[in-house]
């Protein structure tokens, strides 16, 4: 069965600094990978997803993620964060019909 690990439960970062949120997965078959974001008091919304092709995926709000098959990773990056990026970020993986496995989440706090 597949699983997802998010190594950092909390990441504080100063405004306009770069950030990387780490995600590793385990699976014996090909995967599809997602990053979702949950702003305070809201549901989750999709940031980006990797299906196939280019390993660098660009998403909304200036975020991007890189799929690394050899390291089984899908880290999320942003070169310069804003206060509005403060949120919970979830990495997710799926290999079967509509059953998505979510990681435990990383809480990003942007400090002014």
């Amino acid at each position: 069965a597949q699983s997802v690990t998010q190594l950092d439960s909390q990441v504080p970062v100063f405004e306009e600094a770069p950030v990387e949120l780490r995600c590793n997965y385990s699976s014996s078959v090909s995967v599809y990978l997602f990053w979702y974001v949950q702003y305070p008091n809201q549901g989750l919304q999709l940031l980006l997803k990797y299906l196939s092709g280019s390993t660098l995926v660009k998403g909304i709000n200036g975020f991007e993620a890189e799929f690394n098959k050899s390291q089984t990773s899908f880290h999320l990056r942003k070169p310069s964060v804003h206060i509005s990026d403060t949120a919970e970020y979830f990495c997710a993986v799926t290999t079967s019909y509509d059953k998505v496995i979510f990681g435990p989440g990383t809480s990003l706090s942007v400090i002014p």
């Binding site: 997802v4 549901g43 989750l44 999709l46 509509d98």
Partner: protein
């Protein structure tokens, strides 16, 4: 604009009560899901449904049941609420046509406290 709504944002119930959480989507999606969100555990799938009157157990179905009488509505039922069911409950939906890569659209969540 796609929309998933949940009947309550906050709910307080007593142990042993029967609890209904309602979810409605306006996107004509075939699939609907109920998740439970707890700190440090992420989202865990309780039940999902791929069609009217169809349901499948997720990873943690014990103590829950679901109902899908209409395509747009998916209800989660706690037959006899217990304190360990205090949590955030999230509903989601997506299309079936694209298979596992279809984006899920989430409601705002219901924060349930069982006393």
């Amino acid at each position: 604009d796609v929309k998933v709504t949940q009947s309550s944002r906050y709910l307080v119930k007593r142990t042993g009560e029967k609890v209904f959480l309602e979810c409605v989507q306006d996107m004509d999606h075939e699939n609907m899901f109920w998740y439970r969100q707890d700190p440090g555990l992420g989202l865990r799938l309780i039940y999902f449904s791929y069609d009217v009157k169809m349901k499948e157990k997720g990873d943690i179905p014990e103590g829950y049941s679901v109902s899908r009488e209409k395509k747009e509505r998916f209800s989660l039922i706690l037959e006899s609420a217990s304190t360990n069911q205090t949590s955030m409950y999230l509903c989601a939906s997506n299309r079936r046509s694209g298979g596992p890569v279809e984006t899920q659209y989430f409601g705002p969540g219901t924060r349930l406290l069982v006393l």
